[in-house]
């Protein structure tokens, strides 16, 4: 898995690529933590190139969502593949996250 960080005029973009699981989610957690420490908002996580995410990855995103809420920031997800979107539905999280179709929409 690889996470590319791009500073936006407002907020930060994390582009995730690969499989997010128990082995790789600590790297995503680290990138999220860096953005949270800077109180970046919105934090946009682009999952377009993520074909698979498991409950470890979901837990990482939930942690990010809860942490960003503590300083009144926003966390947005975009580019969910059908299997990834289905995981959010199975976990009853689809309405908890701010999920946008495209990166352009998420970074507005």
């Amino acid at each position: 898995m690889n996470v590319t960080v791009e500073q936006l005029a407002k907020g930060v973009l994390l582009v995730v690529e690969g499989q997010v699981d128990m082995h790789t989610s600590p790297e995503l957690r680290g990138r999220l933590r860096e953005a949270l420490e800077r109180k970046s908002s919105p934090i946009v996580v682009d999952l377009t190139k993520v074909a698979f995410i498991d409950s470890s990855g979901l837990a990482t995103l939930i942690e990010g969502l809860q942490a960003v809420g503590k300083f009144g920031g926003k966390l947005r997800l975009c580019g969910l593949a059908p299997a990834v979107r289905n995981l959010f539905k199975l976990s009853n999280l689809i309405s908890i996250f701010d999920i946008r179709e495209t990166r352009e929409d998420a970074t507005k």
Partner: protein
């Protein structure tokens, strides 16, 4: 689409999270060979990764050098994955999935396995550990 095939596959891996990519690929290829759609394949991949992860995390307490046997079986009508550890038997009655209306990290793995597979079974094995069997009916098989 290729004609579904019946098969048996056995492997033993270390309890290392780096193998999750391989485990997912193996289960996914097996699911496709057994005739499952891409959507069902993704669900099976999720179940096996959750099962393997639970063994590393909860049975072996994040030790990465312990054996995990993985067995795929696709006899006529069924598809099953066995994940066998040699830790202490995990009593399934003590597994607590968190209520889905509680939004907090963790506690989703068992729920996801039960949601994506037809049968999730835990049994004590000959090594004193746990054998988790994930089973799904194959498309077009007997109901």
């Amino acid at each position: 689409m290729a004609r579904p095939v019946d098969f048996v596959f056995d492997a033993t891996l270390a309890s290392d999270p780096r193998f999750l990519l391989f485990v997912r690929a193996l289960a996914g290829e097996g699911a496709s060979a057994a005739g499952f759609s891409d959507d069902e394949r993704a669900r099976i991949e999720l179940a096996v990764v959750e099962g393997f992860t639970n063994v590393i995390r909860h049975a072996y307490h994040d030790r990465h050098d312990q054996p995990i046997a993985l067995r795929l079986r696709a006899p006529e009508g069924l598809f099953s994955l066995e994940i066998e550890d040699r830790a202490r038997f995990a009593d399934p009655t003590k597994f607590a999935s968190r209520p889905l209306d509680q939004i907090r990290p963790g506690g989703l793995g068992v729920h996801l396995m039960k949601t994506t597979m037809d049968v999730v079974d835990y049994r004590k094995n000959e090594f004193g550990g746990t054998t988790l069997t994930l089973t799904k009916r194959r498309p077009g098989g007997p109901s």
